[in-house]
């Protein structure tokens, strides 16, 4: 069986600074992987490469065996056509820290846009699906509100519904709760837990250690552009193997 996601020797630089210095990672269907690590360690960058929001200079990323973003044939590496990349992006769903809902569309229209324009679904069918997913994240009554009329937690749930409705093979979450007030965090985390229970494959960057501990099948600790440690959350949180992880965990548990 091929892995759902396979990253080999991923390298990424911004100008002179190498931000990812060779990341290898594999993930099976149904895995829920939390990525932790201190600020600037490259967590966000890794997600953005998987979704081709950033070009990268070296290594390969494969989803379901298909190479993302580049064709490597006969030693030469060429960026795929923009249209092809757009299609590949739709294989993954992404939720951002700042929600990034489209402010000029209602919640339902936010969810429908990709369905209609990318999947070519009819408007009625798309509407049905959008409503189904908004119900699932507990926003049945807010379908026709605009983002500006929703609280942060509600906006984030719409953003998740928008990504999920595209039926991605893999969901990427980048610190989806850190722009939220503490009391709103729970509603979003609950939605993610439910998705995990449904068997959705997920890769999530988070600062909520407790949540990472409870929900993930595996945890990756990023350190200075590399994977510092990786394993089962029970073992990692209780018995960190590296000093750097031990230190990081100590700092993160104050609250």
């Amino acid at each position: 069986m091929t892995n759902l996601l396979e990253i080999r020797d991923l390298h990424k630089r911004y100008g002179d600074v190498e931000v990812l210095k060779g990341v290898d990672c594999a993930m099976a269907q149904g895995d829920v992987i939390s990525i932790i690590g201190s600020s600037g360690s490259g967590k966000t960058t890794m997600l953005r490469c998987i979704n081709m929001l950033e070009d990268f200079e070296g290594g390969t990323i494969r989803i379901d065996g298909e190479e993302i973003g580049y064709d490597t044939a006969g030693g030469r590496r060429r960026r795929k056509k923009e249209k092809e990349i757009a299609r590949q992006r739709a294989m993954t769903g992404m939720a951002f820290q700042q929600f990034n809902l489209f402010p000029h569309m209602t919640a339902a229209h936010n969810v429908m846009l990709g369905l209609v324009k990318v999947k070519g679904m009819g408007r009625d069918e798309a509407r049905g699906l959008a409503e189904k997913w908004l119900d699932r994240v507990g926003l049945a009554e807010r379908r026709d509100r605009y983002p500006g009329q929703l609280s942060g937690g509600q906006q984030q749930r719409v953003a998740i519904a928008r990504a999920i409705a595209m039926n991605p093979k893999l969901m990427l979450f980048d610190e989806v709760t850190s722009a939220l007030d503490p009391e709103l965090v729970n509603e979003v985390l609950q939605v993610i837990k439910d998705l995990a229970a449904d068997g959705m494959s997920m890769l999530l960057v988070t600062h909520e250690m407790r949540f990472a501990y409870e929900v993930s099948t595996r945890v990756i600790f990023m350190n200075q552009g590399r994977i510092g440690e990786e394993g089962n959350p029970r073992e990692m949180f209780v018995k960190p193997q590296t000093e750097r992880l031990a230190e990081f965990l100590m700092n993160s548990t104050f609250n």
């Binding site: 929001l53 923009e82 757009a86 700042q98 489209f102 324009k117 990318v118 605009y146 990504a163």
Partner: protein, 220 residues
């Protein structure tokens, strides 16, 4: 001023004035429509264009914006003729104003597009939209709202700039007014009256802009 005498003269002169208003409105409307269409292209190149093309368009907007409109008008009437494009005064004038309008609209479009958070493009990419789709459904509509007030200003600017076409003999409101003055010698009265008409046209544009703004505003 003798108000009654003025009103009498005004009544006799109603047709030329109405014609002038009509010409002023058609010049402005044409210049605004053409200028806006071209300006959107200019704005797109300024925002997303690369290399020499962008460089060229940057030069175009800077040069046009620094040139007095009067000079643009004279140039399109006389200089275009020497390169074989012989336009009548009306066409030449509209052309000049449209060029002027396009450079302003280009800057407005650029400003509006640049003020949309990057996250919007990324979210659109993330659900698999191509760039043209992203522009059509996500960036364009948001930029439109953003640029509306500045665009309304430019539209009013065009109406005022249309007065310069009197130099090349286009019978717009100002030239009509001056013609009336040359017969009646009531200069102040007619200039103020023309000012009032321009005010009404521009105020109409302003209200219209507000109306569209309200219509398209997003609840929050």
């Amino acid at each position: 001023m003798d108000i009654a005498a003025f009103l009498h003269v005004l009544w006799l002169a109603r047709m030329p004035i109405l014609k002038g208003v009509g010409v002023t409105i058609s010049i402005s409307a044409l210049a605004i429509v053409v200028g806006t269409l071209v300006g959107v292209g200019v704005g797109l190149v300024l925002t997303y264009g690369k290399g020499p093309l962008r460089w060229l368009v940057r030069g175009y907007t800077d040069f046009i914006r620094g040139t007095p409109v009067l000079v643009l008008v004279l140039a399109s009437y006389y200089v275009l003729g020497t390169v074989g494009v012989d336009l009548g005064p009306f066409e030449a004038g509209v052309f000049a104003l449209a060029v002027f309008c396009s450079s302003h609209v280009g800057e407005i479009v650029r400003g509006a597009l640049q003020s949309i958070p990057r996250g919007q493009t990324e979210a659109a990419k993330a659900i698999g939209l191509t760039f043209p789709q992203t522009f059509a459904y996500v960036l364009g509509p948001q930029a439109l709202r953003q640029m509306l007030p500045a665009w309304v200003n430019t539209a009013a600017e065009m109406v005022k700039a249309s007065t310069l076409l009197s130099i090349i003999g286009v019978g717009e409101l100002l030239l009509r007014t001056q013609e009336l003055i040359s017969r009646t010698f009531m200069s102040l009265e007619f200039y103020l009256f023309a000012g009032l008409l321009y005010f009404v046209i521009n105020y109409g544009i302003e209200r219209f802009g507000r109306y569209i703004e309200r219509k398209t505003s997003v609840p929050s």
